[in-house]
Symmetry: C2
Subunit: 122 residues, 2 copies
DNA sequence: CAGCATCCTGCGTGATACTG
DNA sequence: CAGTATCACGCAGGATGCTG
């Protein structure tokens, strides 16, 4: 099955949204990329901030997340094909358009999931 | 009350958000509840709309989703304790405050995930 | 540095049967 | 009607080692 309809026309945007951002890191990666391009290692380190207790993210996992984001059309992978390797990821226009949505999520989450923390912006 | 807060202070609202809406149906359930209270069976049937191909949602799954939503403080379960059973679920103020966020998600999803499918509606 | 190959484990999801 | 009890399964996510 599957076949021609590799990308289904979702009648339910919410379901599509959930699939798109499935995974622990996708939203945070997108958010981190809003400032500009980032290298693989930068993204990786960025995901560790605020999570002292946790371990390093498995390369396999991060790799898959990034591929999925690229496949969704949210980010673009730029491989400089140099040695040592240098790869940068940046948001596509579609990805950029999604940032405000994450912003809304964060705003709501800051109020209802983290107390009356008013001072955060970022 | 130091740790009286049953809900942890998440430094990352996004991560907390993801946990909160984890599961295939939570967002859709919340969205469906915005019009008012709904009974268990109504929610169940509502989740089938627009998903002709799929089968009925397993009671076990829906039950867990609803419990999780209640535990998150997004919905309230009202049990009428009658025979035959009648249980209604409705949004808490916190749950209602979350509806606009879903609205943003849907708006974005309708534009970028459903193509130029203008038949958006619900 | 930016991954890929392999193994392993927990749990989310589904299907079915049963109950107050 | 509104669930609970079991069984089964795929896959996300982690851990390690290796490579161009």
């Amino acid at each position: 099955m599957g076949r021609a309809t590799s990308k289904r026309m979702h009648r339910c945007p919410v379901a599509a949204f959930q699939k798109m951002i499935a995974g622990k890191y996708k939203l945070r990666i997108l958010w981190d990329l809003q400032d500009g391009q980032r290298r693989y290692g930068e993204i990786r380190s960025g995901l560790l901030r605020g999570t002292e207790g946790t371990r390093e993210i498995a390369p396999r996992v991060l790799s898959r997340e990034l591929k999925a984001l690229a496949a969704s059309g949210l980010v673009i992978r730029k491989d400089y094909a140099v040695m040592p390797p240098k790869v940068e990821y940046r948001l596509t226009p579609m990805g950029k358009s999604f940032i405000p949505v994450i912003g809304e999520i964060r705003k709501w989450g800051a109020r209802y999931l983290a107390g009356e923390n008013l001072s955060l912006a970022s």
